[in-house]
């Protein structure tokens, strides 16, 4: 596709369950970011990975959040043992490199009940 796509658009999870959110980024893009967006705290970086697809550089280390990048243009954000405070919009963004713009997906709205 031409842009970044995320799936699912909406996800409801029971507290304590694990969830996985998918991001299909743009082929050739080097850096891929995951953000959590809430009304009170804006957009915080959860994790990002650069050209080394096997390494996950966490911007905000947390034992419950991890990202896998099985292919250069695919990333899966995993949240273990979800909590109600994890309810938010999760955005994925990819960057070709340098100062070029980041392309964003439409986000996944996660609701933990």
């Amino acid at each position: 596709g031409a842009g970044v796509s995320q799936s699912p658009r909406y996800k409801v999870a029971k507290r304590g369950r694990d969830v996985a959110l998918r991001c299909d980024s743009i082929s050739g893009h080097v850096t891929l970011y995951w953000y959590r967006q809430t009304l009170g705290q804006g957009s915080e970086v959860l994790t990002y990975s650069q050209s080394d697809a096997q390494r996950d550089k966490s911007g905000r280390p947390s034992g419950r959040f991890s990202a896998e990048r099985p292919e250069r243009s695919v990333s899966t954000l995993k949240i273990q043992r979800t909590e109600q405070g994890d309810s938010a919009v999760y955005l994925c963004a990819s960057v070709l490199g340098g100062g070029t713009e980041a392309f964003f997906g439409q986000g996944t709205r996660l609701t933990v009940v």
């Binding site: 970011y33 804006g42 957009s43 990002y48 550089k57 911007g59 955005l91 960057v95 100062g99």
Partner: protein, 115 residues
């Protein structure tokens, strides 16, 4: 650590008027990029304008322009001739050229356009 601050949670402007959104940032780096992104209700962030820190000239994109003050670490966005379609959340962002290259966002400013 780099931080970006937007001190205006909400702003409103009359259609066709001009509005300025404020942004300040903190960094010890000398080479970096600054961005303004727009996020409409559809949630997809769209790049509005970009500024390279090494350039003294302020970036301009049609009705959008910035006032980049490197010494003051200020990066405001001016929207001229505001249109109803400009209504959205606006995020200021910073990205270092070297090292981690983390893209850091401000808290956002919700812009309302009054007809």
């Amino acid at each position: 650590a780099q931080t970006v601050t937007q001190s205006q949670p909400e702003m409103s402007v009359q259609e066709a008027e001009t509005v300025t959104l404020s942004c300040t940032y903190d960094t010890s780096e000398s080479d970096y990029y600054l961005f303004w992104y727009k996020q409409p209700p559809s949630r997809q962030m769209i790049l509005v304008i970009r500024q390279e820190a090494y350039k003294q000239q302020n970036a301009t994109e049609n009705r959008f322009s910035v006032n980049f003050q490197k010494a003051a670490k200020s990066f405001s966005l001016k929207i001229s001739d505001s249109q109803l379609g400009d209504a959205a959340m606006y995020f200021c962002a910073y990205r270092c050229i070297q090292g981690a290259q983390k893209l850091v966002f401000g808290q956002g400013t919700r812009l309302t356009i009054n007809p």
